[in-house]
Symmetry: D2
């Protein structure tokens, strides 16, 4: 219940940042899918630390090992177990934090809730967990070969791409280290992150994701609306503070006469403020949404805080952290999107005779 | 799976707008809670149509009838079944829509997905379903008697309350028909809705919700984070396009050094950009979030559209519709918030020995 | 979680014996199934009290009212809500039991667990709940029109049918009031029940169920084996003490060389000690199993017992009770079998690409 | 959904007999339980192959490696990931079975259902999976330190213990290799198995399990009755054909006046034909049940069968197999019992205020 995601395609994960390994079980993956292992590893490499100058300099290979559920290169319908070993933990970076509550981290809430926590590297609260999701999402992408899912960095701090996504060339997303398909904005973003990093600070940003060629009919009213599950998935990512799809918060300022998407004879719509979803069900148009990430809480500056005794103390981030989480979160957003869509794709097979 | 909400406290609902009745089963409600039936009905009355001049003029009493699970005025731990009869359906208002796809409604997607739909009054897609949620939420509120949950209209179109929620007096929310505790803003909003209505148009808005006195420790990592479940719940409400909590989308523009919430010795924090949730778990501070509603899709103007044969046709909204959904959605937001919190409250009882 | 059954096709029920009504929500029922309402009522009539001289003489029409999810005579894919009103409660029959714990009933355990219970007619523990299952099962049968499910009384006390099921004519099951397709045994059983009833006593029995034309491939390892779900379903019926399928407990005395089912070239097997299920998955052969029912706990004789204060007292069953639960449980066994098979039928659609 | 067991305490497993490893994720295990690793390994050793002369002579250490969720020797409330590496696969033992369907195995049904299967050592259908359950069950036992759970071999073929369980000394169960606490019966059973083995045959048997000191109140009506979940759990074990609790199938021959358990003033009962469960809820008396295992399907004799082309062929079991599964299944029965009880123990914490 607590560490599982999905309904028919269900991923159950485990693992702490500095434990032996992270990993999980992917259950409900249908039989007969040819598995491209390189494609999985490639997605992991997009997420891994140390990949560029604007992310954490921690080096971890993040190699996934599949333990079951695949035979002769194909999925067998049996659960797919996998592990990613933790190889480069420097727990001593965290020794000073044993009983200190880092501001805007989850140390305090975990301690109060569970009475015990693995404080090394943030333990279970570390974004390292998202590597598990990338593995599962990479398999989901292979199940949904016909659907294309493209996420990208749409803002860093107050630097925004000033174009609609339709004017972007997604093939350029991977051509720069901030994962912004608009090259001019990408440069500005990279400069901004470098500057922030030098100041020992961190900065927030947003990711936009576009899913194309999604068939009509994915999504299940009333309590499994497609956008509600996408929202839940995105809000599960560390540091996320908001989610909007289609017209989003802007739509809340609009009038019905300008917001409604008028149909073409073939069922497509002239505009797409609905964001590809109507009544919780995909309508065949592009699904697009935006996810807000707060600045990483670990900064390289002194901060006042308390320890588990309630005593005032001071903390300064050590170790190797991301000045901006957004570039590495792009594959995570895609992975969760793929998982949600794959789950609904399977569910939809049961909904009419 | 499809029409159920919650884990331990689980609500399963049914019903179409113009069917015999709507209703549901509330399972997992603990034994021993004294039930205040008037309080339930009062919440329903806040949501019901016809309550003021700025909402739909359809009249329905929305009387809930409890069928089980309550004995001698107390919950017995058994499932609580309930129905709300549909009394004022005017299906003929919809006869002209039998096979016409209303723009930005779910007619098209339901038809494509299920191959059949109850088109009367929007059938299952009608916001009438939210009455079920208000019933369940009203009971959840009684379970969480120590927690206070206050939602209110924070914007209509481009009219926003220009104060932080801390400066508002929630006891004034019900003192005006738009449910905005800031009286000056309320007047402007009401005028705006009246003007929009006269034009046969509709308008969007936002609702802010604040939950106070929430105990530390509600929320379950990794895939049951408190804010993720709140987000999913809000995104399940008809017309919702976005959700943000704490600093939200603004947080994505900030730096860590300004965003971090510094602890006081007692574990409270000096600021609360976290929105009362850290690592997916409540930290005892106020939980607050904002929900974006698009303008209602049914407008009293002519619109081009298509029918199920793909032929071009024209449609004009008839019947009695809301020019702005936000005032009636305020109790719905509160109800779902209560359901989420109650579910986590029960779950938390199992998480340590 | 507590009062729901099934995974994709999920039934959530409510209701106490002497409350306003019982009923439920059938979620996940696929769109497009033509609903035969008479067939549903006919199944209810097979279960209803007062139908013959060997069952309780309580008279209740048990009329089901569908509230949603069906339109123009077809399922719409939306949840099917239904209620069965309680019309003939004689709560005063139970007034003397307010705080007395009936032996081998659930009064004591409910009181201890929940701290409160609706004691009227057994409240939620009454077998009246099984009427809900019959409704849902009758719809499941319509979804599985190609599968035939036949349950029958295979023993009452020590009177057993002395033939294998293959020698029985299931069309005769409804031709006698004990629902035993072997007429000679039926007469003996009926006489036995009459005799037991006269003595103010009750008696146990078994029901055998045979499902034929089940397609190969229903069932999901590892924790959703077809026979495990059937077993759980049967063990959910009031008074059930045991379940066995295929060779059952006899198989535990056998040797592999005599127990193995040898294949025919077409994949059928020469014998069927497996009971139509291998590795948790249907193999296309007949599925058959046997369910043991204890004697009804309410007897018309004086019994020593205690009350909620722990004081010794005496009790004598009043009211109108079944001397043997088996004849009325036959449609219940069929209903749950249909629900399990329908759930697996839908699940199977998602298991390979 | 498919490979998960439990509700609050949920185990999700993976692994094939001859894959890299088997393992799983134990989610919902509460924080603060001191983990005795030796006790876990000791349970695994009770199940492992090669432990005595009457079980398979395959040698595998079955060493469990915990990967997460435990810190400083205590559970943290986070998911507990674990793996057991496969070290002694001799896949060549199975090469001759690549496309041959072994009688009364799951080869045929898996092939038909999934279109692909890992045939090595039975793949996912191997009872090797039960090692995963033993790990999880061993942890559950530590959570339920106050409850004692004792399973034992109660019959092999037609050799039965001729005493009620109350006359047995459970401390003697581990004193002989067939795990029967009655020494005289144990000897007969061991001889029987040796004789069967010499003949290249296999034999069935039964296991009885007794849970003592179970608190009143575990179990959840209507669809989560304690005995129904126990039954489902037991029916999930490879080779199980039947389950009965309390009076079981014998109860179906009895009359109410002899079957009812009369209360003592303290709420205990004079007899215990109910098997410690009334209305699906534990009543504080001993819970006891019996599980029937068919003879292992793999025999060392020639059998006619077919291959995946439907061609007649012959098969003779090779490799190292159990002549009787029962001795090694005793810890498996205990493990699943512990898991079910632990899940209900946690659930019960949420059921009244």
């Amino acid at each position: 219940m607590f560490n599982s995601f999905g309904n028919i395609l269900r991923v159950s994960t485990f693992g702490e940042s500095h434990g032996v390994a992270i990993g999980g079980v992917i259950d409900g993956f249908p039989a007969g899918v040819t598995i491209d292992f390189d494609a999985v590893q490639k997605e992991l490499d997009r997420r891994k630390p140390g990949q560029s100058k604007i992310v954490t300099q921690r080096k971890e290979p993040d190699t996934v090992e599949f333990l079951s559920g695949i035979f002769d290169g194909k999925s067998t319908g049996m659960p797919i177990g996998f592990v990613i070993k933790n190889t480069n933990q420097k727990s001593k970076d965290y020794n000073h934090n044993t009983n200190v509550y880092r501001p805007s981290h989850a140390d305090y809430t975990y301690d109060k809730k569970y009475g015990i926590r693995d404080y090394r590297g943030g333990g279970r609260t570390s974004a390292r967990e998202t590597a598990n999701w990338v593995v599962a999402g990479a398999l989901a992408k292979q199940l949904l070969a016909h659907i294309s899912i493209n996420a990208f960095t749409s803002s860093v701090g107050d630097i925004f791409i000033d174009k609609p996504y339709q004017d972007l060339d997604f093939s350029k997303t991977e051509s720069n280290i901030v994962r912004c398909p608009d090259e001019k904005s990408a440069e500005l973003m990279i400069d901004k992150i470098k500057e922030i990093r030098k100041a020992g600070d961190t900065i927030g940003g947003t990711i936009t994701c576009v899913a194309q060629n999604v068939p009509v009919g994915l999504g299940e009213p009333i309590f499994h609306k497609l956008h509600a599950e996408l929202g839940k998935a995105m809000l599960s990512i560390n540091a996320v503070k908001g989610f909007e799809f289609g017209s989003g918060f802007c739509g809340a300022k609009m009038q019905g006469s300008e917001h409604n998407d008028i149909f073409n004879p073939d069922g497509t719509t002239q505009s797409n403020l609905s964001g590809g979803i109507q009544g919780g069900i995909s309508n065949g148009m592009d699904i697009y949404f935006r996810v807000a990430f707060k600045p990483v809480a670990t900064i390289m500056q002194n901060q006042q805080t308390i320890n588990s005794e309630g005593e005032a103390t001071e903390i300064q981030g050590k170790g190797r952290h991301d000045p901006c989480v957004v570039p590495r979160a792009v594959p995570v957003v895609e992975a969760l999107t793929a998982l949600v869509l794959a789950d609904f794709y399977l569910m939809d097979k049961t909904r009419k005779i």
